[in-house]
Amino acid sequence: MEATVLDSWVLAEFSTPDALVTATRQMREKGFEGMDTYSPYPLHGGSEALGLPPSRVPFIALCGGLTGVATALAMQTWMNTIDYPLNIGGRPLLSLPAWVPITFELGVLFAAFGIFFGLLGLSRLPQPYHPVFESEEFRTASTHGYWLSVPQATGTDAAPVMDQLKALGATQVTLVTGEKE
């Protein structure tokens, strides 16, 4: 049996989204890192409270879109102008205006793929297992619960962190330990 690496998190539930955002900000100001919030919908000010850098999804989308445009132009030009030239009523073999619709469509298609797979890749999804799911109460995070997770070195005393979270208004705190992702 191979050894499993364990990962621990302190989970704290807050009663409102605003309380969660405030608590996150204060915990970060205290120097905690690698925290994460969990909520059924995006929190207003949540990204700022976690101190996240701007998302890289738009850049990936742009790359996807440009790849699509370049692919479409190259494909049509090579296929209809070079490899299999077709004389349609004497029109120029390289008729760029006629290339426009497919160029646009492929640009959109590749950009959409970039967004979708970029989102999954940056979020490391699909990932059916995560230590936070060890707590059954945590299931409310997708319906009506607002949770904060603070990483905790496995085997160390989590009480001080839990106390701080309670002081910030957490309604319940637990420690979860599971396999490292």
Binding site: Y41, P42, M79, I102, F116, S123, T143
Partner: protein, 479 residues
């Protein structure tokens, strides 16, 4: 003016509700997921049975067509395009309202879209599937349909990229793919909610599989928000491009009645017109069955009726311009097509039905009484769908049946195979839609919760005082 402004921008809690005010996150969750956990009622099974029998017609029609060839359809020279293209354009058009609601209204920050976007996106997806079936079958040998795509083959030939029919292939397949991605991305948080409210292990496993392990992480939402917005931004020009390209199938030809520069905008307006009508047709029974009156309120219906009125006027303008340009050109073929053939020819009945449904019917929505009466709007929405089907029939069949040379004129009549494939796609659509209503949240739960929080914040800032809220309405109404 005050009414319009308050309806779309202003504090949506006043005077009528977008979300019934007694809800919090937990109760919204319960209400919106209830229909998934509940055993479907008798009505659902009846409709499902009806849809399945119509789907049976599709199976019969398609099997017969494949066995005997497309000669069993009514179209032949000179009317080479008929039910196959009419229904293709009709279904694609219906699909467009879904994208419009979910994408364009999102970009314009129209808060009322939130309760209906999931529903409309599902409609898009299923409508485009039905649409795709027709050109596929019309190829005659659908098992060679991959010839439409550029792939290195032993035939040594490539597609002809100057042809709008090839553009269509790319437009429709891109549209289907992007709509599916958009729909699924929107669905992920709700699938996680389903997973976490599951009562049995099987449900939890299945919904968990589709939820991809979504845990509502702030780091994920950070990317998710921008990804969703970008997909909306992409879908907006995409939807316009798709129906533009569909209209190119006609507009780039030289046939009188097809060869018109107004076609792209006129087709897009018609698509939105019929699509919104279809949303109304479906949402009225669905919200009753699903018990969703708290989130799909009368205000949503009224707003959609306004869109139907606006796009209906655009479509009427399109008809007017077609007739004007025919007269202004003094081209004898154009004059014949618009003033003699369509209005008095063999298909005049269809033409006047189209005028009645598309030009006259939407005007009842000038009146608030009609915009807010469920029975009236439901009947009107069906009339619009019929009218838009007639429009495609008129455009395609009249122009082909009487073109330049009277010796090559001919009459088209659909066969039973045409009808059963058409009714069959209605069955396919109904079946998919009913399955969607049963297994997936019909309303974007996470978005409704977010909206609800926003509304509460807004109400808080404006002050709960009635006088204050009233003053707010007035100031907003002023500009």
């Amino acid at each position: 003016m005050a009414e319009t402004a308050s309806n779309t921008y202003q504090d949506p809690l006043e005077p009528r509700h977008l979300v019934a005010p007694h809800h919090d996150d937990a109760s919204l969750n319960e209400t919106l997921l209830d229909h998934v956990w509940r055993k479907p009622g008798k009505g659902w099974f009846m409709l499902f049975g009806l849809s399945l029998s119509a789907l049976g017609l599709l199976v019969i029609g398609v099997t017969y067509t494949l066995a005997r060839g497309i000669g069993v359809w009514g179209n032949n020279q000179p009317v080479g395009w008929a039910f196959d293209i009419i229904n293709f354009v009709w279904w694609v058009g219906i699909g467009h309202a879904g994208t419009l609601i979910s994408a364009i209204l999102l970009l314009f920050q129209q808060k009322w879209r939130t309760s209906i976007n999931r529903f409309a996106e599902a409609m898009t997806l299923f409508a485009v599937m039905c649409a795709g079936l027709f050109p596929l079958l019309h190829t005659g040998r659908p098992w060679f349909a991959f010839w439409l795509f550029p792939y290195p083959s032993t035939l040594g030939a490539w597609p002809q990229f100057r042809s709008p029919l090839v553009w269509d292939v790319f437009a429709i397949s891109t549209y289907l793919t992007v709509s599916a991605l958009f729909w699924f991305v929107g669905l992920i948080p709700d699938l996680a909610a389903l997973r976490d409210s599951s009562k049995t292990k099987l449900q939890r496993t299945i919904y968990g599989l589709f939820a991809l392990g979504w845990r509502g992480s702030g780091r994920h939402w950070h990317n998710y928000k921008i990804a969703y917005l970008l997909l909306a931004g992409l879908s907006t020009p995409l939807v316009v491009s798709v129906h533009t390209i569909v209209s190119f199938d006609f507009a780039v030809s030289l046939l009188p009645g097809w060869h018109a520069t107004i076609f792209p905008p006129y087709f897009v307006a018609g698509a939105v017109f019929s699509g919104f009508a279809m949303v109304i047709t479906l949402i009225i029974p669905a919200r009753k069955y699903l018990g969703l009156r708290d989130v799909i309120t009368d205000r949503h219906l009224e707003n959609m009726n306004k869109v139907i009125l606006a796009t209906g006027l655009l479509v009427s303008y399109g008809y007017l311009m077609e007739h004007f340009v025919a007269w202004y050109s003094q081209n004898q073929y154009e004059l014949w097509t618009f003033y003699v053939n369509r209005a008095t020819g063999p298909y005049a009945g269809v033409y006047w039905l189209m005028i009645a449904c598309n030009v006259i019917t939407p005007n009842i929505f000038w009146f608030k009484k009609c915009r807010t009466n469920i029975a009236i709007m439901w009947v009107a929405s069906i009339a619009v769908n019929i009218g838009m089907w007639c429009e495609r029939f008129i455009i395609i069949v009249t122009s082909l049946s009487q073109d330049f040379l009277p010796s090559s004129w001919g009459i088209y009549t659909p066969t039973w195979v045409d009808w059963s494939i058409y009714i069959g796609t209605l069955g396919l659509f109904g079946t998919l839609f009913l399955l969607f209503l049963k297994f997936v949240p019909a309303v974007a739960i996470s978005e409704v919760k977010e909206l609800q929080l926003e509304l509460k914040h807004a109400a808080h800032q404006h002050g709960s005082d009635d006088a204050l809220a009233g003053a707010g309405t007035l100031t907003h109404g002023a500009h």
